[in-house]
Point group: C2
Amino acid sequence: MSTKQQEKDFLAHYNVHDHDIPLSCVDVVIFTIIKDQLNVLITQREDFPFKGNWAIPGGFIDINQDKDIEQTAQRKLKEKTGYDAPYLEQLGATGNNTRDPRGWSLTVTYFALVNADNVVFGKDSCWCELNDGGIIQEKLAFDHALLIKDAFQRLKNKTQYTTIALHVLPPKFTLSELQKCYETILGGKLNKSGFRRRIIKSNVIEEIKGESKQTATRMAQLYRKSDDELHFYLREIYPTFS
Amino acid sequence: MSTKQQEKDFLAHYNVHDHDIPLSCVDVVIFTIIKDQLNVLITQREDFPFKGNWAIPGGFIDINQDKDIEQTAQRKLKEKTGYDAPYLEQLGATGNNTRDPRGWSLTVTYFALVNADNVVFGKDSCWCELNDGGIIQEKLAFDHALLIKDAFQRLKNKTQYTTIALHVLPPKFTLSELQKCYETILGGKLNKSGFRRRIIKSNVIEEIKGESKQTATRMAQLYRKSDDELHFYLREIYPTFS
DNA sequence: ATTAATAGTGTACTAAATGCACTATTAATT
DNA sequence: AATTAATAGTGCATTTAGTACACTATTAAT
């Protein structure tokens, strides 16, 4: 029998369930900024284990419905937020024999950045504020508190050298609003003129000619994103905490 | 019946195999530098599918043997290289319904950096040079060519703002050798005095007092790592390609 | 009209790169 | 023995992109 035929036979009789294998899930940490505070979307679990507890959106990969893991993440996000095209990035995989009482479990975590105005909640979901350490007050299911902490760290890091914070803003925004987002994520103050020079030079936003917005004191120029791609800076920016 | 008892019952009767779930593997891209060329470790597959083809080391998570995915990666690395404490970092997860003929498959890819002198090959393994694009000449099993390409990109990026390249060197090395590693990975030339200032200032290496090495022309000071942790620079270094 | 607050700009200073020229050492060549 | 070639190692001028801080502009509230 040819090798090719042998391989065909092998595949014909292959059965995933002949082996002990881990559970595989996808979880999504969804960030937004509300009233100058970083928030994470949490949702109440409908089923065991941890029924009734708060958790981040996620669940099993549905191999009949999802063609890849990114699609699983998109699906979860859409279910909980109605949101279609957010910033979505894979954080990494966590897999061990302790995180899930059902057994050896592997999860791929994604993190998303959304503008809160565009979110339509599914039932049993809400925003939850992050404190300084990135840890949520509520008791969360599984290792979700840790996943959030890691996602928050990644978000902070990327905020220092990319234009990622643009993705929490509505379509039109002022430079001060953008700076405030950076400061909220980083937990410190940025220098105004330096920040503006940096953002303008990176070419990721453009003035909306003739449109401005009344702030508490005076008019401010409105801007829009000119590109949805992240811009990577060669240097990090860092806030002062004084 | 209490919720707690219900949960207990649920878990007692839970069976992973009641659902259609993906295969879960871990793959490892192992880099080294040999004669100023970046190499990747490949190994010949013993079983179907792709029996006899070249692939990067990897395989199923063994939920009875591995307590977490990092351990799976370490195990694979040890099997193929005899190597114990290399630089090992998770690259990310790839999961879809096309990468494995056995069905929906999820793999967590790690990449490792080793010093070639310390490697003891398992059978059926060898080093394979990367060309400019990072693509290997051989036809590789699964999507392994893509995994290597992504790992190579990550390695290049990290070389621009961390001290990662230290991990391909033997315990004692000269600054020129270190610079050459950086240049090999980046595919360009670095400025000598700038490179030295940067490395020295980062405090990750130290002179071995009184030890030097004869190079092609003259003696060169030997250094050792003073820390196995990566140092992250605030600015990227970038090579010239002239 | 004055004040307070935020929008927005200008400029000096600084850190850490690049670019390039220079000196030092040693094997190989003559 | 002197010269050459090649790489080790240093020094300094320039450039880039930050920080720090002071200044002007605009508008609501007093």
